[in-house]
């Protein structure tokens, strides 16, 4: 590492205090043991680097920005080069590196898909008219209650106004399917008290961890394998393959990570589960950890989820006290604990390797693969990353057995799936159905469209538009793939014929332009040039042949040569909108 040059220390007492709460002075990367003996070195620095992101959060919350003095103090404590610290701070939407020159909280108003058509701009303006500070930003995972806002607190904790009811009465949350006996994944939501381990026990909690310990690692993986569980985070990768690979790694520390970054526009499923059944995520992540032989569990949750964060923190604490986390989990002799990490506003950090970089205290830039996380993951060590919904399914498949679980769902997609319905639908919200349901039936389950459906966005911004002629499309991985679409993270957003699709598609293009990490050329420049062509199209009202070729040429290089899934999918929605005639006015 480095012989840092720190600038003149201008940190405030308050800034130092919040950094010291993240890392005590006695534990800094460099400590004076006596006037003549100083301990430091590469290993101590490496071990502490992951505290950079929590440190930046602390400074941002305290001062409203990452000031040079504050960054300097934090970098000194962790021995992170200030230039790198600055590079990390400037990567995230929730951090600012210029003085806001005001002491107010900031209202982050979502400008994406569902909120876009639900009057997000009007909300932003009315807040501004009331004298509030507004930041227009990307989706914040509350699409079912669009237009949405999240308040980044100054001298008050972060909060979401819409959470008030749940905070007042933790069991008050109601799913549209509340009370349905068909719920396998969501059956505790709105029923169990999410703040109480006892309540979770009372509703069958921790039976599956006990069972998993009983049957042992190999048997658990066998169950997951016979269940043919596929990941729910977007890539639909077989979970058993991933777990087996990590379990087979020996002799190095290992990790399991719950990827709760949930930033795909239109997605809010993990939030509802974490807010209303947090212990289920803890239990299932613990099963994952014990199964693959990892001591370390991490939950990486997006920074805009204050209620879910509070509930998970509380749950982790209770589980530690009850011996369900710690040195001897449920008397199994195994060690496992969970560390919660908050993202800071970066869609790309949901990409699993970007997520690891982010935890490690670097910019959330995805890694090239191979090597894959199962061999070279967090801190270079074997790691299994799963979506919370995937983990929830493990509880289900262990309960009913892999073979039985396999009979649920469709031909090639087993089990139940969570779908996030929003936009022009009568009862927006989270729905749990078996794989294979027809798109139209699912929409009917949500009360049908509120108008004349013109298009449905499947899979979020990274997905594709399908037309109303596709309502009989079977919602399974295989059928959707054959149709050239994707289920992604289970997003279904309806748009009726009142929608200005040009503005909508422009916004989607803008989302990618804002969210590309900018590391690789195809994506960094591609999403920018794509947006420019669409801006031009919006002005002209139509897309020329030449421009259409350019869009396709750019889409091809982004799909073929980008490092990660963001670049690969950044043109899907745009191209499908052109194809369906939603924009571009082409024959």
């Amino acid at each position: 590492m480095a012989d840092l040059k720190l600038s003149v220390d201008t940190s405030t007492d308050a800034e130092r205090a919040v950094v010291d709460a993240v890392i005590a002075p006695a534990d800094h990367a460099v400590v004076y043991e006596t006037e003549r003996v100083v301990r430091g070195g590469t290993e101590r620095r490496r071990e502490r680097r992951h505290l950079l992101l929590p440190g930046l959060h602390a400074l941002q919350a305290e001062a409203g920005w990452i000031s040079p003095g504050g960054l300097n103090y934090l970098c000194g404590a962790l021995q992170v080069p200030p230039a790198e610290g600055f590079g990390v701070a400037t990567f995230y939407e929730l951090f600012r590196t210029t003085d806001p020159a005001h002491g107010q909280s900031v209202h982050h108003v979502c400008m994406d898909t569902s909120c876009h058509i639900a009057g997000a701009e009007a909300l932003a303006r009315s807040l501004e008219a009331e004298g509030e500070r507004v930041h227009r930003g990307p989706c914040i995972g509350q699409c079912e209650r669009a237009p949405a806002q999240f308040i980044q607190g100054r001298a008050e904790p972060d909060r979401v106004p819409a959470d008030a009811a749940s905070i007042a009465d933790p069991t008050s949350y109601r799913l549209p399917q509340h009370g349905s006996s068909k719920l396998r994944l969501l059956h505790r939501v709105g029923v169990v008290d999410p703040t109480s381990l006892q309540s979770y026990h009372d509703h069958g909690g921790y039976a599956m961890l006990r069972y998993a310990i009983e049957i042992g690692s190999d048997a658990v993986i066998d169950e997951v394998k016979s269940a043919e569980l596929l990941g729910r985070g977007g890539a639909a990768f077989p979970t058993a393959v991933k777990w087996r690979a990590v379990a087979d790694e020996r002799g190095r520390p290992k990790h399991v990570i719950a990827n709760a970054d949930e930033s795909e526009p239109g997605t809010f499923k993990d939030r509802i589960v974490m807010e209303n059944d947090p212990f289920a995520l803890i239990e299932s992540l613990t099963i994952a950890g014990l199964t693959v032989g990892a001591d370390n569990g991490w939950i990486y949750i997006r920074g805009e989820y204050p209620l879910a964060t509070t509930r998970l923190r509380n749950a982790i604490e209770q589980c530690r006290i009850a011996g369900l986390l710690g040195d001897n989990v449920m008397d199994s002799g195994a060690r496992f604990d969970i560390e919660l990490r908050r993202g800071a506003g970066a869609y790309i950090c949901g990409e699993e390797t970007a997520l690891m970089e982010s935890i490690e205290g670097y910019r959330g830039e995805p890694r090239n693969k191979p090597p894959f996380p199962t061999t070279y993951g967090l801190f270079g060590e074997p790691t299994a990353v799963n979506n919370p919904e995937t983990l929830l399914n493990v509880l289900d498949l262990l309960e009913v057995g892999g073979d039985h679980y396999r009979t649920l769902g469709s031909e090639r997609s087993s089990g139940h799936r969570l779908f996030c319905l929003s936009g022009h639908v009568r009862v927006p919200g989270l729905y749990e159905v078996p794989f294979g349901i027809a798109l139209g039936d699912l929409i009917d389950l949500a009360g049908g469209s509120t108008g004349m459906t013109r298009a449905v966005l499947l899979g979020g911004a990274a997905g594709v538009f399908v037309g109303p002629d596709q309502l009989d499309l079977e919602l399974s991985l295989e059928a959707v793939r054959d149709a050239g679409a994707t289920l992604g993270s289970g997003v279904i957003t309806l748009f009726d014929d009142t929608v200005d699709f040009t503005a909508l598609v422009l916004r989607i293009a803008e989302f990618f332009k804002n969210e590309s990490c900018g590391q690789c050329v195809p994506c960094r420049v591609g999403v920018t040039r794509q947006h420019e062509v669409l801006v031009e199209m919006a002005a002209n009202g139509a897309l020329s042949d030449e421009r259409n070729t350019l869009i396709d040429d750019m889409a091809t290089v982004m799909r073929d040569a980008s490092i990660c899934g963001l670049g690969h999918t950044a043109s899907g929605a745009v191209q499908s909108a052109i194809r369906l005639g939603l924009v571009g006015d082409r024959p």
């Binding site: 040059k5 990567f91 900018g518 590391q519 920018t528 040039r529 031009e536």
Partner: protein, 290 residues
Amino acid sequence: MTTIESDTHAEGESAVESVTVRINNNDVSVARGATILDACTASGIDTPTICYAENLTPVNVCRVCVVEVTGNRTLVPSCSRLAEAGMEIQTDSDRVRHSRKMVLEFLGSSVDLSQAPEINQYSVRYEADVTRYVDDREVIEEPIRIQDELYIRDYDKCVLCYKCVEACGDDAQHTFAIAVAGRGFDNRVSTEFDVVLPDSACVYCGNCVAVCPTNALQFKSEFDLRRSESWREEEQTVTTTVCSYCGVGCNLELHVQDNEIVKVTSPVDHSVTHGNLCIKGRFGYQYVGN
């Protein structure tokens, strides 16, 4: 009589295993651990690279070196992907040519490549057409940063290849004075809060300048000569010698124009320097000839 015995042993010199890959339908054998790029080079295929350098860990961000490997959904960066036995590789398929052309168009449409002759040659080879983008497009516009007598930084020319960051960081210098800041198209190589270079951690080793492929980073000496239109690279001689300052024994390449040293570099394949120097070796020549 004094004698000093010799030892020639070096550890880990076991017989090197080799792997065979198929490139454009010809078999090529390379040592295990070699990249696809190495294999291409070994079979005489000239692969364009921008962010790759022999003395740096590949960051594989420019994507101009991509090739098609059977069984991979996307193209793969040849500079970082290891050659595996039995790989079927295409280096000149339509897909490969398309991606390379687009990368070059993207860069050409964003930054000033006027002092990046190598990249321009690739652009000709792959028929990159930067004129087909929206006129009113975003390009990198930054003031030239002249903050001392040794360097200039002209980020209008920066292709964000990360080389300077790597050279300043843990690939060589471990000073970490510069890093990439921002996100997406707003990414810039920057000091903390963009403080001027002399206030940063910079120690003026010039190792960043040495690796920059576009002249976004330049020695002030070169910049001044270029500005007065007296930089004549074709007339320059390059002589390898040894630094006169400390006892490390760094090799220097003295670039001489009109019997004056105008720039100092170091050979990237030299076992001592790997292309890097310190401020004394890099700039300490200025007394020569005075």
